[in-house]
Symmetry: C2
């Protein structure tokens, strides 16, 4: 497999990268600066890519936040909800059509590199609020990618039915340096510990019974 | 219908815009600067949008050409093929996964505006060389867009089985100002008259028996 990995520098896509390296895939990491308030994930992505010696590109799309206005992730005038992912209020963190945009860019890059795969780390915990993390979305996009070029591109999404707990367990097996990954949406110096992704992250380490190496604000 | 139209300022998307206005659709025009050498189409898009009094955004994605390297449309070190679209050499003008990237951006914008439709002007003449103009690609993408958000987005592609001749005929009925549209890929001051899109444009006017108002270089 030669895959472009949609790589945010977060826990999920870092476990995915280690998981694919374990399967001897040839990888190119792609991160996208879409104006997210948590720019810190981009520094995390660089640090992890360098430590693995993998080729990595950060694509800057500064106008995207304006085009896709209305999400708390890109518009700092909208307050970031705190609490558990499953809550209705978390829908404020949806960036319209984000995954299709990012995956289609990754697919264009894969075609250009003559790679055959695009990989992303959507997992079951995302489905409640993010429509574009659902297995049926991933299946439909896979069928579309197979027709987007003269040669077939496959959308690899091995975690689409896994829980966050499963991801932490797999990361533990692969000795993923969790302390280098960045999840928090709030954009501070440390993980806030209160936003949806922080709550889910903490909970997953607890469920696995693994010491959480994350530095939380409080 | 409330539609974001993928609008290049070319003949096809201009006829599409007039066609949808005729059907009383509410429209937002979206043009994308992906580093194409024929930047003149972007000025054409502005001129036409202003003359119609329609809202219009040009999204600048300057890093895209680098990410999707290898097309004669974005890389001036690759020579632009001349001749008829149907020829194998024209494949040099394919920009990897261009349509999925542009349509997914348009869909994100549509969701953000609470519109229900994305429209694009792919037509049958494109299919020979552009995989992402095929009806089966458009059908698959339509199914994917319906799952990309909690509310359904439809991909409207009324011309997907029409010839360029059909488009010119429809444009004639709707009094489209063809002289304002820009097709040529070569990036000069006038249409070159020799690249695939110029050849197809000239041929379509001849087949319809309509005087071609385009200023060609020779």
């Amino acid at each position: 497999m030669k895959a472009v990995v949609l790589f945010s520098g977060g826990l999920d896509s870092t476990v995915l990268t280690y998981h694919l390296l374990h399967e001897n895939a040839e990888l190119k990491l792609l991160s996208i600066d879409y104006g997210q308030r948590h720019q810190k994930e981009l520094s995390a992505s660089t640090q992890i890519a360098v430590s693995l010696g993998l080729p990595h590109t950060i694509l800057k799309l500064p106008m995207l936040a304006e085009l896709l206005g209305g999400s708390a992730l890109t518009d700092t005038s909208i307050s970031l909800p705190e609490g558990h992912y499953a809550e209705e209020s978390m829908k404020a963190t949806v960036v319209p059509n984000r995954n299709m945009i990012l995956l289609s860019l990754a697919a264009g890059h894969a075609i250009s590199l003559q790679f055959n795969t695009v990989a992303y780390a959507a997992h079951a915990g995302d489905h409640t609020i993010y429509p574009d993390c659902r297995p049926e979305f991933a299946d439909a996009l896979d069928r579309t990618l197979k027709l987007a070029d003269w040669s077939e591109i496959t959308l690899h999404r091995p975690f689409v039915k896994w829980s966050k707990e499963d991801l932490v367990r797999r990361g533990k097996e692969l000795a993923v340096p969790f302390e280098k990954t960045w999840s928090c949406y709030a954009g501070g110096e440390f993980h806030c510990g209160k936003c949806g992704t922080c709550v889910e992250r903490k909970e997953a380490f607890e469920l696995v019974g693994l010491l959480d190496p994350t530095e939380y604000k409080e």
